[in-house]
């Protein structure tokens, strides 16, 4: 039986990598993948705690998160494609002209 703390530690590591990726990466797709990473690290926490407390509601949350993530991925990729068509670049720092 793997102790609970290992799951939580792994989850925390993955989440931190995701956060760091979002902040550091300039490529929009890479940022996007990092966001997915964060979502999935949270999913891992949910599953682990759900199993630990013998409560299915944590697993239900995971389904919701996955659904939302799928929808968000579709919208996000759509935006990315549009941005690429317009700017020939996926560097998010280039896409900073809206305020002007």
């Amino acid at each position: 039986m793997i102790p609970m703390s290992w799951y939580l530690a792994l989850s925390a590591v993955l989440f931190t990598i995701g956060v760091a990726g979002v902040i550091i990466k300039r490529n929009a797709i890479a940022m996007f993948m990092c966001i997915e990473l964060m979502l999935n690290s949270v999913n891992l926490t949910f599953i682990a705690l759900s199993s630990f407390f013998r409560d299915v509601s944590g697993q239900l949350f995971v389904f919701i998160v996955m659904t939302v993530a799928a929808a968000e991925a579709a919208v996000g990729l759509g935006i990315i494609i549009t941005v690429f068509r317009n700017r020939e670049s996926l560097d998010v720092d280039d896409a900073s002209v809206l305020r002007d």
């Binding site: 956060v19 902040i23 550091i24």
Partner: protein, 773 residues
């Protein structure tokens, strides 16, 4: 039974509207069938109306039976209740009979007059729809349903005035009529509301639960009849009582019945086809105002101030329109002003309390004015759509039947002795002189009589001028420069692929002009006789109309000749062995009596209450063929005044006045003949020819300010600056706020992510910190 009277014309309208276009489009235009449908629909209504009015035993006009027909409860909200119910008492019985009968004759005439028109079916659909609305107006058993008919006839009037849709002046005239009527209708709506507020009912009749099918309904008029008399003061007009109600309803009547100040639409309405002018703008619709006033006589007899106003407006309109009529050159315009003038007479009669005389004049006027209009239609057709009398003359040789029938109408409107108009006009004048109504101050009756008498003189003059210019004198239709403009109205409707009609070139004598009567248009109506006629004289010559047009003329001429004999006043009837006044005896119980000067108010209220409600009649009126008027029911309280023998002095006075009005008529005819037979084209005062510039004054005083105010004030200021400014300003405000706020953004996605992280850390840190303690 009553429902058939109104729904038969509606069915005819629907049928013609649905299949008429198809019938007309086939290679053989089926005008006879379309016209036949329309005439049959009105024919059914006529037969049913006459049957209900005169059926033995329970005929509405010959017994005290009131025919009621409740179809369904239309509106029921709280205390307010309006049925879709019809009622025929003596007043609406008389109206229904002459509306359907004259309407039928005009329908038949129209089959001939509209021959060759490209939307023949549309005309008859509208005409039948009009009959439906008019009969709804007349037969409605409550004010609200009457108002439906009231609006409906306005709509049909609009549609038919603007029937020639490709002519701008027709459209303008239609709009003018509609708008002028709207002004009046505003008064009617408020009046109906006020009646409901005062009485809690809008019904004309007391209806039992058995009739309505659910609850009993009380008559609004009956309630008002029991109210105390309103005082004869100007203040009563705005007090919100019976007087205010009467005034508001009368405002509607001035619109519908073309009285000062809303009469301006009627002369322009002559842009419609002539049968329309005869049916709507002479015989039926324009008398709807008189009908309403007499129907609501219980209200008016309680509002002496309004009675006085009605008498003054009626007299003023009568003389005003008569003077204009003298100087018009369009044959239909003369008749239009004559109609306004005669309507003025009717209101004068209402104002002095002679409601019966008013309705009598409505009926005789329907006969002779419909006759005159149809006669003018026949002349217009015969002259190939020429309406200008300056281009006529000498037509009696060419159109003998039209001439003979119009003679009857002419003598009737002038008031020559056996003709219909004589009895009704004479009765109005006598009642005006001798009125004892509380509403007419001492002496005012004499002054009003004088105005009426002068109007009678003018009437005789202008009608004689019309006859002289049209039927006597030189044949001016061959002249090239007779002046005036041809009316292309009727002409343009006849586009059957032939060359443009002659109306534009009518002044050129002898030009081939036969489009109105297409020789090649196959038809069942046009008889072969007409072809022979055309061959007989040149195509440009005037010709007599076909039989579909002359037969209605002849029938109406008979009615215009003998129609007045049903209402011979006592003073004359007693001269020839006591002929009773059938008309007055029939109608007297159905209308309220105006209070007399010096009469006891309580007694009057009781008497009016009794007189207004036919169901409460204390005795059945005599059969028409009954014995001496004095033998039955003598001395009873609800007895009609006509049955009592007037004082001998009064009778001889009335006879004297009859002679006076005869003399006036003869004088008018004489003057008219002397002046106009020598010089038919005699120039007349420009002021009269231009109708006192009333249209121009209205333009300057009312229409232009509204136009300018709408354009500059409402459009350029309120709409563009205020409303658009508000909407656009909102948008601009948003933009400008955004311009300011967006400066705090810097646009790097990763920075936002970092800020979110910091924020999340801060929140977590806070919780960790606070829970750790």
């Amino acid at each position: 039974m009553l429902r058939y009277i109104i729904f038969a014309p509606l069915a005819g309208a629907a049928l013609n509207w649905l299949v008429g276009r198809w019938l007309l489009k086939r290679d053989r235009p089926n005008e006879a069938l379309i016209g036949g449908i329309a005439c049959a629909a009105v024919g059914v209504a006529t037969v049913v109306a006459l049957w209900l009015a005169f059926r033995p035993g329970t005929g509405v006009l010959i017994s005290d039976h009131v025919e009621l027909d409740s179809l369904w409860t239309w509106i029921q909200v709280g205390r307010f209740r309006a049925d879709f119910g019809l009622g025929m008492d003596r007043l609406s019985g008389i109206y229904a009979c002459f509306v359907t009968f004259v309407g039928l004759l005009i329908h038949i005439f129209a089959v001939g007059y509209m021959h060759g028109d490209r939307s023949f079916y549309r005309f008859f659909a509208y005409l039948n729809l009009f009959m439906f609305m008019m009969l709804t107006l007349v037969l409605a058993d409550n004010l609200l349903l009457m108002f439906v008919g009231w609006e409906g006839v306005g709509l049909c009037s609009y549609l038919l005035i603007g029937y020639y849709i490709d002519r701008k002046e027709a459209g303008d005239a239609a709009k003018k009529a509609f708008v002028a009527n709207r002004v009046g209708d505003w008064g009617v709506v408020l009046g109906i509301m006020l009646v409901f507020a005062l009485t809690g009912s809008v019904s004309f009749f007391d209806k039992t639960a058995a009739v309505t099918g659910n609850t009993a309904v009380a008559s609004a008029l009956g309630v008002i009849a029991k109210m105390p008399l309103d005082p004869f003061t100007w203040h009563a007009l705005i007090a919100g009582g019976v007087t205010s109600t009467a005034l508001l309803l009368f405002i509607g009547a001035t619109g519908k019945s073309a009285q000062i100040p809303l009469y301006v639409w009627l002369p322009d309405a002559m842009a419609g086809p002539t049968p329309v002018s005869a049916l709507i703008h002479a015989a039926t619709m324009v008398t709807a105002g008189v009908y309403m006033v007499v129907r609501c006589s219980a209200i008016y007899s309680h509002a002496p101030t309004v009675m006085f106003i009605i008498a003054i407006i009626g007299a003023a309109t009568a003389i005003f329109a008569a003077t204009i009529g003298i100087a018009q050159n369009d044959i239909k315009k003369v008749l239009a002003y004559s109609t306004i003038s005669q309507l003025g007479y009717m209101f004068l009669a209402c104002g002095v309390g002679a409601f019966v005389a008013a309705i009598f004049h409505v009926m005789t006027h329907a006969f002779f004015k419909a006759l005159l209009f149809l006669g003018s239609g026949s002349v217009i057709t015969g002259m190939h759509h020429e309406q200008d009398m300056r281009r006529m003359g000498g037509l009696r040789k060419y159109m003998p039947i039209t001439f003979a029938t119009m003679m009857a109408g002419w003598l009737a409107i002038c008031g020559i002795v056996p003709f219909a108009g004589f009895f009704s006009k004479d009765e109005i004048l006598w009642k005006t002189w001798s009125t004892g109504a509380l509403a007419i101050p001492n002496g005012a009756g004499k002054a009003l009589w004088f105005i009426g008498a002068v109007t009678a003189l003018l009437t005789a003059i202008y009608m004689t001028r019309l006859m002289v210019m049209t039927f006597w004198g030189g044949e001016r239709f061959r002249d090239t420069n007779a002046g005036g403009q041809a009316d292309a109205a009727h002409a343009q409707a006849y586009d059957k692929g032939l060359a443009p009609h002659d109306a534009e070139t009518a002044s050129v004598a002898g030009s081939p002009q036969d489009v109105g009567h297409l020789a090649d248009a196959p038809t069942l109506i046009m008889d072969a006789d007409e072809h022979a006629h055309e061959a007989h004289h040149g195509p440009g010559e005037p010709h007599e109309s076909p039989w579909v047009m002359t037969v209605p003329l002849i029938v109406l001429a008979v009615l215009a000749t003998v129609g007045g004999l049903v209402g011979i006043p006592y003073a004359l009837g007693s001269l020839v062995g006591g002929v009773p006044n059938y008309f007055e005896r029939t109608l007297e119980p159905a209308v309220a009596k105006a209070p007399e000067r010096g009469g006891a108010a309580g007694h009057e209220a009781a008497a009016t209450g009794q007189a207004t409600e036919p169901r409460m009649l204390s005795r059945p009126p005599q059969q028409v063929d009954g014995a001496s008027p004095l033998s039955v029911g003598e001395g009873q309280q609800g007895e009609p005044a006509a049955e009592r023998a007037p004082a001998p002095a009064e009778v001889s006075m009335e006879r004297l006045f009859t002679l006076v009005s005869l003399a006036i008529a003869a004088l008018g005819i004489g003057i008219g003949y002397l002046i106009f037979s020598k010089r038919p084209l005699r120039p007349l005062p420009r002021l009269l020819e231009n109708k006192y510039y009333v249209d121009e004054i209205y333009d300057a005083a009312i229409i232009n300010p509204i136009k300018v105010g709408s354009r500059e004030g409402l459009w350029r200021l309120l709409d563009v600056k205020v409303i658009d400014g508000l909407v656009n300003g909102m948008g601009r405000a948003m933009r400008e706020t955004g311009d300011v706020v967006r400066r705090i953004q810097f646009g790097f996605v990763r920075s936002y992510a970092a800020i979110i992280l910091l924020g999340a850390l801060a929140v977590i840190g806070y919780f960790v910190f606070s829970f750790a303690r």
